[in-house]
Symmetry: C2
Subunit: 541 residues, 2 copies
């Protein structure tokens, strides 16, 4: 027996309606060296509806893929709504990929049109000969003379002369809305195809008071790239909530981000852990300016922020660091730490310890941890196992690429090793493939890295496994020093915190630690630089 | 082209999972004169799973309707989850209906089993001969000797000896979950059939930071009856959010509610406007006890709280009154006022004025106001028209009762007259059928009532239209006085605030004003008592 409720589909056009009608005068601000641009949601709605018409005019229709190669800007936000709302699919391209990977993803997606920032046009041109499907290029600015594409348009001209689409089409909520590629360090990137339903539900879950609590009074500096997993879903959640969005524009430096927080009174900033660290250093280097009084929350993601980082923000500038867990395959947010903890409470080590965890499963997300044989493990704060997840916004498969190992009994196998505490909070311990197996025991490289980052003289750190004739594997630490420190100092620092067999025999001092295009530790390259081939690295899961 | 996301259905069992697993140690408290009962969500989950088995044993299966006649209690909450989670439909019966209406709704629903509180068994017995479908009766307490039903069970015995259902069934999210009847003052009650999808989305929208903002740190005294429109969806939202629920138990008096707020540190209380007024009076009569320090929010619904009421709570006990708009057909919440306004800010008349409105459309709710000819009106704070609404949790039809006038172009016609302000907030002006048409102009009875309630010597007030040979209709006020006041005093009070033709020619002083079973002004009875038949009352919409 079915309920008698309206068959109202969960479409991104519902979010747009709320932004442009209910929060018509709220702002989207885009940073620029020549003066920041302020745009209302009402104007954004008008532009989105014009872009729908413009895309139709250049031949884009339902189901077509449209690539964006762009910074965090109001124009990119227009594409975030217009492309899915017309029934097409927005493929947010990552300009930090190698040209080979970029060409691969464009061809794999079959992108028919590209929205490209002027300064990224060169990158697109560099792979032009390899592209098979691109028919139209819209430049988000001036079209340079001698631009060699056949169908090239100046975005503002095209959008400006188009008539706003008054009615946006209705279609099933399962329709594809956006496409992101994983930034995996092995093999070709894999495509994750989000639906309207998954994106709307994810946005709504981010607005929940117990998760990211995005509401209409929030002013959000979005420093995480819109080219990376839909900027963690924040643009959609902000529009749904009526929050003010502050987009940093072209190639922002840490000091630009700090300036935007001050000038526009950002209450929340959203950034990768590494960017958070850069902002902290820039603020310290500038002698404690600009003014960060308005800032209440710093949402750090991409990897787990260290307790030392969380404590610094609480103690020095009265900011609570929040974080969560997710991956491209989970839209990305699947857990979130409490936004309610006050910064002064974080100076209590017990509270800090809980806040440094990855938080609780979001509403509608179900999780479990399992042993290697697939049996479920208890939430006792002790048992660690591979994290498995289900939710309406978790991938069921990759685009045109079967992967028989990605799921088990309908649940996504995340490859992350986690512990659940009895209070429902989850703590990521490691990637299964980054665990170090030594003498029959597991060593968590992530915990060693976090402890090293907690040392005042350590700027960056990574721990990888190296083959060992006696112990199968042993951990090796690579450290970027920030002061006068020796390997033995750091080994002693770790020996105070972990079992003796966890302490790396070797600490290598390096100038820099390789990271992936989205700022994660690139352990594959670290191992390669240490002369460890993937063949010699044993499978640990 | 479909997205590649998990086809995870929006079922109430997802909410139960989150409550029992992620918030296992959070409490459900039920008030009782013999000592309040504290129950964890983990135990609640176990009981729900036992009740699923128990219901199956008494012959209930998917699609069957199960009636509850019960107070706000932990056992009623068990039914809120177990009945829908097994695929059956919970019909929450209203024990304040007349026996005729109660029998009508039970037969119309085809209820096969009844969960009944011991003190409401007599009501059920009184209509027994008229019931055609009831096969099993579960008494939520002792079964009285001589209870004449054939299949009668002591609920706790039955549930206690049943094995918990470890796996709850999966089925389409469009499946019916709950059934409520409208409390309309004309004609037979009409059945609204909610689905799992509508109930889950409604709960998630209530958790949004910009709406009711129900989160895990909230401690909610739920004084609005669970027998009335799913207690405004709060039980489901609380379980989803991990909020502590405080249920007042059997027949609570205003002083019981105040005691529960104090004893359990309720941060939010949820009640009908009339109950809020009774709580205020009980608190004043007791000389300002008990201690309401923990209380931060009072959510008043059922009708619009007056500015005077909102101001009292802010000024006297530092509590912000929040409110929204909805009806049985909208699950019920469709708008909600900001929860972020601080009580001290409410002492500013401009802020108070905004807070007394019904707030903004919830996420996924779309609204418009239309003139009598159906043309859309602007959101200018001036134009008033009939409110039309769409959302995934709005009724598409009534159960087994076609009503060709209920919808227009797929939108629910609410029968309420409203204004939208440019900031996206909505203000209900009147029911279309309660507007007074005088000399070709409209007079809002609701605005007159609110102004009368703002007078210190008025305890209750209602305004209705009476036929007038000159002006077609004229407003008449019926007032329950709280002090020494004359009709001319009140007419002068109104004349200061409204156009002269709005001021009622007649003010009648009465002992009490009739209300419906759910506490709304019963204007039909008022008109009858004034000798105005429905035939003579002109159609005003």
């Amino acid at each position: 027996m079915d309920g008698l409720m309206m068959d109202r589909q969960l479409l991104l056009s519902r979010l747009l309606w709320r932004a442009e009608r209910v929060f018509a005068d709220r702002a989207v601000i885009t940073g620029a060296p020549t003066g920041d641009e302020r745009f209302t949601y009402a104007r954004l709605g008008d532009r989105v509806r014009r872009l729908v018409t413009a895309l139709r005019e250049v031949g884009i229709g339902p189901g077509d893929r449209v690539l964006s190669l762009a910074w965090n800007s109001r124009r990119h936000l227009e594409a975030y709504f217009a492309v899915p709302c017309m029934g097409a699919v927005l493929h947010t391209g990552n300009h930090r990929l190698s040209p080979e990977q970029l060409a691969y993803t464009i061809n794999h997606a079959g992108d028919r049109a590209v929205l490209v920032a002027p300064d990224l046009l060169g990158l697109l041109e560099s792979v032009r000969d390899r592209l098979h499907t691109v028919e139209a290029v819209l430049v988000l600015g001036e079209v340079p003379a001698g631009c060699g594409w056949e169908n090239v348009y100046a975005y503002d001209d095209l959008v400006g002369r188009s008539v706003p689409a008054r009615e946006l089409p209705e279609f099933p909520e399962t329709t594809a809305a956006a496409l992101c590629y994983t930034s995996g360090t092995t093999g070709d990137p894999k495509g994750v195809l989000y639906s309207h339903r998954s994106t709307v539900l994810h946005a709504l879950a981010l607005c929940a008071a117990g998760s990211a609590a995005i509401g209409p009074d929030e002013r959000i500096l979005l420093a995480t790239p819109m080219s990376h997993v839909n900027a963690w879903g924040v643009p959609y959640a902000a529009a749904l909530a009526g929050a003010t969005l502050i987009l940093p524009g072209t190639h922002p430096r840490p000091e630009d981000l700090l300036r935007l927080i001050q000038d526009h009174g950002a209450s929340t900033a959203v950034a990768a852990v590494t960017v958070g660290t850069m902002m902290r250093r820039a603020w310290e280097a500038a002698g404690g300016v600009p003014d960060l009084t308005a800032l209440q929350r710093l949402w750090l993601g991409g990897s787990a922020p260290s307790a030392a980082e969380i404590e610094w923000w609480a103690r020095t500038v009265d900011v609570r660091v929040v974080n969560g867990w997710g991956m491209t395959e989970t839209s990305p947010m699947a857990t979130f730490s409490s936004a309610a903890t006050r910064p002064d409470e974080l100076l209590d080590p017990g509270v800090l310890d809980v806040q440094a965890r990855q938080g609780r499963p979001l509403p509608l997300v179900e999780m479990r941890i399992v042993a290697a044989d697939g049996t479920e493990l208890p939430w006792d704060g002790q048992s660690s196992g591979e994290l498995e997840v289900t939710a309406p916004w978790v991938a069921s498969a990759y685009l045109d690429r079967p992967d028989p190992d990605s799921h088990r009994d309908g649940r996504l196998r995340t490859g992350d090793v986690a512990v659940f505490h009895p209070d429902g909070t989850m703590q990521v311990k490691d990637r299964t493939k980054d665990l170090v197996k030594s003498g029959g025991e597991w060593i968590s490289s992530v915990e060693l890295e976090n402890a090293l980052l907690g040392h005042p003289d350590v700027e960056d750190a990574v721990v990888v496994a190296v083959p060992d004739p006696t112990w199968v594997e042993r951990p090796v630490a690579c450290v970027v020093a920030a002061g006068n420190v020796t390997g033995d100092d750091l080994r002693f620092h770790l020996a105070e915190r972990f079992p003796r067999f966890w302490v790396p025999d070797t600490v290598l001092f390096v100038d820099t630690i390789p990271r992936t295009s989205v700022g994660k530790l690139d352990k594959k390259r670290v191992r390669a630089e240490l002369g460890i081939t993937d063949d010699t690295a044993p499978v640990t899961s």
